[in-house]
Amino acid sequence: MPKLIKNATIIDNEWLTLEKDATIDAVTGKALLPLALYLENAAALSDNSNVGVWIDSDERADALEPHLNNIAVIAINFPKFVDGRGYSIARILRDQLGYQGELRAIGDVLHDQMFYLKRCGFDAFAVREDTATEAALAGLSDFSNSYQCAVDEPKPMFRRRG
């Protein structure tokens, strides 16, 4: 089973990511629904803890606002690791929309982006299959401190500097 880094430990990834053209009858077990499919069925899915949603890098999280308390997992897709839109989408979800549930990075998720992803509010990482998961886990702590405030550290260094 593919691996998932969650809360800084390695676990099995039981969630299936459904393609954008999937229909609601394809949902079995734990599934991440594409944004449009989720929104169409949001009312019916509101208490289903086996259902999450995934957002692509050219989509926005705003439409999810009324449903955020009911969603167990939101995943943000990185089609290519150099596509950095997902970092801003994550921060908007955490800082502006107040999303508290699991925020998962999926797609081209690699060792060397882990630290930045964590800072922007991701707490789960489905690293690309050819990535050494143990090493990627270590990437979460490449740096012991940062200048800016972010989701993981609400105060910038200049408010903490002793």
């Binding site: 690791f81 839109r85 930045y116 940062s146 200048y147 260094m157």
Partner: protein, 551 residues
Amino acid sequence: MYKYDDYDRKIVQERVAQFRGQTERFFDGTLGADEYLPLRLQNGLYVQRHAPMLRVAVPYGMLSSTQLRTLARVSRDYDKGYVHFTTRQNVQFNWPEIKDVPSILEELAEVEMHAIQTSGNCIRNTTTDQFAGVVEDEVLDPRPYCEIIRQWSTFHPEFAFLPRKFKIAVNSVPDVDRAAILVHDIGLQIIKNEAGEVGFKVFVGGGLGRTPVIGSEIKAFLPEKHLLTYLDAILRVYNLNGRRDNKYKARIKILVKAMTPSVFAEAVEKEWAHNKDSDATLTSAEIDRVKTFFVAPDYVSVSNAEHEAQLAANPEFANWVKRNVNTHKQDGYAIVTLTLKKTGTPPGDASDKQVEIIANLADKYSFGEVRVAHDQNIVLADVQQARLYELWQEAKLAGFATANLGMLTDMICCPGGDFCGLANAKSIPVAEQIQLRFDDLDYLYDLGELELNISGCMNACGHHHIGNIGILGVDKRGEEFYQVSLGGDSGKNAAIGKILGPSFARNDMPDVIEKIINVFVENRHDDELFIDTYRRIGMDLFKERVYAKAD
């Protein structure tokens, strides 16, 4: 200048360790070349035509003598014994080995230097006026704000993978702009409002490259404490909306143009409302802390009688003072520019020995500090006037006293096809041919200030668009040709030059430039500058002369 504390030091050391690990994974095959590429770029490492190139950050151009000596040693131990000063106030090594780069970065970290974000699609080194802090007419010293921006932008977690590179420049002088802020992704003009409060006029969407654009004002007065939250808002709007499908349309200038500056400004305001007055807001304690690193050195009062006598007795010295020395805000002091534009030397290049001489001159004459200027020269910012004569003699011996600052032969030039993998054409030989043609200093002085800028390709590292005369290397069916533009200006009246006409072969370039200069001389009113004559008479006379058929 700014000094690292334990926090700054640790961040840079952890970066060296991270990059060493990435480079090891690249060599053992667990990190693919495609994935290593953006990581090495964010550490300043390019792979060029002949060898890798490592670009080292010189934050807003400030260097200590200790840092200069380390650069000289690194160039000797790991490279071919010379360094290249760039138009963005940075330093480049042209021949390091990839495997040595982690060790080079480790040696640089020991003297508080790094190559963080000197390349790649992220926020690059912030640049400013090379005369910051020592000129009378600035509103206040811009360097503390540059350092605050440096820290904010260093490993900003949200903006490490932008659509394209991102450059910020700061100017603090009302009527002069040596930092060319209107051709940057963000330009910040430090101003005071009617109540005397400090803030910024904010411009976005300026840039050179394939589509040169002058930046648009989106905020008339941003109070200083809001600097970082407002920058966050601009960057977020750009990160989410900038084009990622075509790298030639990915810069913020294209987005600002597509949205229009006023709609872009509204989007920024909307985003800013979420973050404004949050804990990311600057504190006056932090601004004051950073300002303590940029206080004036201990100036002393010395008689200038001897200096005046030396000026009167030695016309060559007097001429150098007139050309290469600027007025300092402190009585009895002067700002000296050491020119790295001696004919026969690629503009901006300095050997390890020369770099060490500069370090010695800095220690002896200017409190151990220098600045790299965007015109690829070196500035000693705090020299006693009484010691200028002595300094001039030493600088002359070392080849730094060619009195051509601001003149036609003080050109800006990228490394071009001799070194750079992107270039269409060589640029250094063109610079050299022109320097040889115009080797009469008296004639150059008569011509007055004139910016001639050369880029080897569309990427415009030599800033050809904003040269009064711009030269761009182009490739035509595998041959190198040069396109000429006139009327560019990097200053307060920033303008993009207009193309003269069809391009020329390299050997024709000195003749072409000479014809352009002749048209200027024949049409000039009194001591008019080239740019003013051009603005008055327009392009046609230049065009007619240059393209006239020989009878």
